[in-house]
């Protein structure tokens, strides 16, 4: 890590904050009008703004920091995880975005209440997994924001966590969904530019594309190996094709079913705009992820060749019997107290380029991606607690009389709680993201997608799938992480690699179908309203 305060980098971050907080303050009047304005930006957002907002909400530090870090750790096979994400985005338009926008609910749980005829229970069946996933995502986003503050301000990690909490609090509390939508749109442009700039800078530093990839292969000969390579895979985790498919599938289905993207479908002007917004989201995602693949694959080589801490890191790496790049990260961890320092690998690669302007762009882009995600999830969680639970299910007086005030109080509590957890993050940001995805997709995904497309999908199946899959995904991930040492090992047999316990996605789907077939079908009018009218 470069020593001392970098004024150029600070200017980039300052410009970013002026724009972000300015939008938050401007949005305050709009947000204060009422529920639809606060939660859904008045349902009047066009395709480009909604699409770019979708991109930045969906992409989190798990994308910007986590995916390059995992490519750095696991090599080329991890590229397929990024491809899987984009391949999931492009199908979301007709699959869930357009039907859900036509149906027009306010929050994520409305669908479960209406489609499955459980006005109170649906709030909790869909809400509890959402709350758990939301906390995981807010934590990983605060961790990501804090890591960028470490790079920017050279403060220790724990102080950076609380700066992150305060900044997110200001514009989310003030602006509601207006602020997060417009901020997220601006943030997508900043983060995509930052990702592309990082890729170009790394490639240029190594002397162009051909020498970039040749240097990488000299530095790490196995990095482009596939699981069945005779020379062995780039890492033990990528030793089977099931692992490649597992990483591909974990995030593949998420875009169509995750609460924070679903809510973005509701903010679009109409279903046509919702579908068009997916095209913009896919295009920006392709640009960003292509860049992150290039950055991730070269991270180790460029750190080891150019990072200023390499001379100090060599003895540490020798002592640890690890690559020099890990020694550099170990030094950074020691100096700033970052809990999961591999998440810093992407920034370390950019530090190795030695350009303050590049670091300024990266920090602004990183803050964009982290803060837009935390804001999107905070909005989803406070809509869940303040509106769905306190107002609709429990009918508390204060929530009915002052919904926006209650939402702001909930936002503050959630952010402080997640700030506390972020002090000692339980895993790498990408691991937390994968955990949240599998939890939501396995427990609520089948009832979301099949509820729109399959007339036989039943209330009983929704309840059983959520009640079985939420604890199963939580337990198996925790067991694999704590007992077997990695959340990617199959919790019943550590010799089998099953990234993020992804198989639960298919188990959940099968359980949902079986229970639906053996239980009472929904009413005719429900089928007509949700499985026929939404498609006309």
């Amino acid at each position: 890590m470069q020593n001392g305060f970098d004024f150029v980098m600070f200017l980039f971050a300052l410009a970013y904050f002026i724009i972000t907080i300015g939008i938050g303050i401007y949005s305050r009047k709009l947000a204060a009008k009422g529920e639809i304005d606060y939660y859904l930006a008045g349902r009047g957002v066009g395709a480009f703004v909604n699409g770019t907002a979708l991109t930045s909400t969906y992409f989190s530090p798990a994308s910007f920091l986590g995916l390059p870090a995992f490519v750095f750790l696991l090599g080329y096979p991890m590229w397929w995880a990024l491809i899987g994400i984009i391949a999931g985005m492009c199908i979301a338009g007709p699959l869930t975005a357009a039907p859900l926008r036509k149906y027009g609910p306010v929050t994520f749980t409305d669908f479960y209440c209406d489609r499955y005829e459980m006005p109170v229970l649906g709030r909790f069946i869909a809400g509890i997994p959402t709350l758990i996933a939301g906390i995981l995502y807010i934590v990983l986003s605060i961790v990501g924001t804090a890591i960028f503050f470490v790079a920017l301000l050279k403060l220790d990690y724990k102080t950076s966590v609380w700066i992150s909490v305060i900044v997110v609090l200001i514009y989310t509390v003030l602006g509601g969904m207006y602020a997060t939508t417009w901020n997220a749109s601006v943030q997508t442009i900043i983060m995509t530019f930052a990702g592309v700039a990082a890729a170009i800078a790394l490639v240029s530093k190594m002397g162009g594309p051909e020498s970039y990839f040749k240097e990488i292969l000299i530095n790490t000969p196995k990095i482009f190996n596939v699981p069945s390579s005779p020379d062995g895979p780039p890492s033990a985790i990528m030793s089977s094709w099931i692992a490649v498919a597992g990483f591909f599938l974990t995030w593949h289905y998420g875009f169509s079913t995750m609460p924070y993207t679903i809510v973005r479908f509701f903010t679009a002007l109409d279903e046509r705009e919702a579908k068009k917004s997916i095209v913009w989201a896919t295009l920006f995602a392709a640009l960003l992820y292509s860049s992150l693949m290039i950055v991730g694959i070269g991270t180790k080589a460029i750190i080891e060749k150019y990072h200023p801490l390499v001379p100090q890191a060599v003895p540490i790496a020798q002592k640890l019997n690890k690559p020099v790049a890990i020694g550099v990260l170990a030094l950074i961890k020691k100096k700033y107290g970052i809990g999961e320092v591999v998440d810093y690998a992407m920034i370390a690669a950019c530090e190795a380029v030695g350009s303050s302007v590049l670091l300024g762009i990266i920090v602004a882009g990183g803050l964009s991606i982290a803060m837009s995600t935390v804001a999107g999830w905070v909005m989803a969680v406070n809509a869940l607690i303040a509106r769905d639970w306190m107002t609709k299910a429990l009918k508390t007086k204060i929530a009915q009389e002052k919904p926006v005030l209650v939402a702001r109080i909930i936002t503050s509590i959630v952010l402080i709680l997640c700030g506390l957890i972020s002090m000692n993050p339980p895993a790498l940001v990408l691991d937390l993201s994968g955990w949240a995805f599998v939890l939501i997709i396995a427990s609520l995904g089948p009832s979301m997608v099949l509820g729109i497309w399959w007339k036989r999908a039943t209330k009983a199946a929704t309840i059983v799938t959520a009640l079985l899959m939420a604890p199963a995904t939580l337990y198996s991930w925790l067991y694999a992480k704590l007992k077997l040492g990695s959340p990617h090992k199959f919790f019943l047999n550590e010799n089998i690699i099953t990234p993020h316990q992804f198989y639960w996605i298919f188990v959940g789907l099968i359980i949902f179908i079986i229970v639906s077939l053996i239980t009472q079908p929904p009413k005719e009018e429900t089928i007509k309203k949700y499985c026929e009218d939404l498609h006309n």
Partner: protein, 67 residues
């Protein structure tokens, strides 16, 4: 029993999985494929990055927005 699903959506699903399985099969039968240099960069860049990420998925998103 099922709602009328747009044919293009089904085709898109098939294309996505066939694309992944095609390249994984080719890689499994020729492990050097990802690092074989084509026009100055590894082949994986062309079929993973340019084709799979950009061309195929953005095209699918665009065509599905018309459904």
């Amino acid at each position: 029993m099922f709602s009328k699903m747009p044919k293009l959506l089904i085709v898109a699903f098939l294309l996505i999985y066939l694309n992944a399985v095609l390249w994984w099969t080719l890689e499994a039968s020729n492990p050097d494929l990802p690092k074989t240099f084509v026009m100055g960069v590894p082949a994986a860049f062309w079929y993973g990055n340019v084709w799979s990420c950009f061309i195929l998925n953005v095209f699918i998103a665009w065509i599905l927005s018309k459904v």
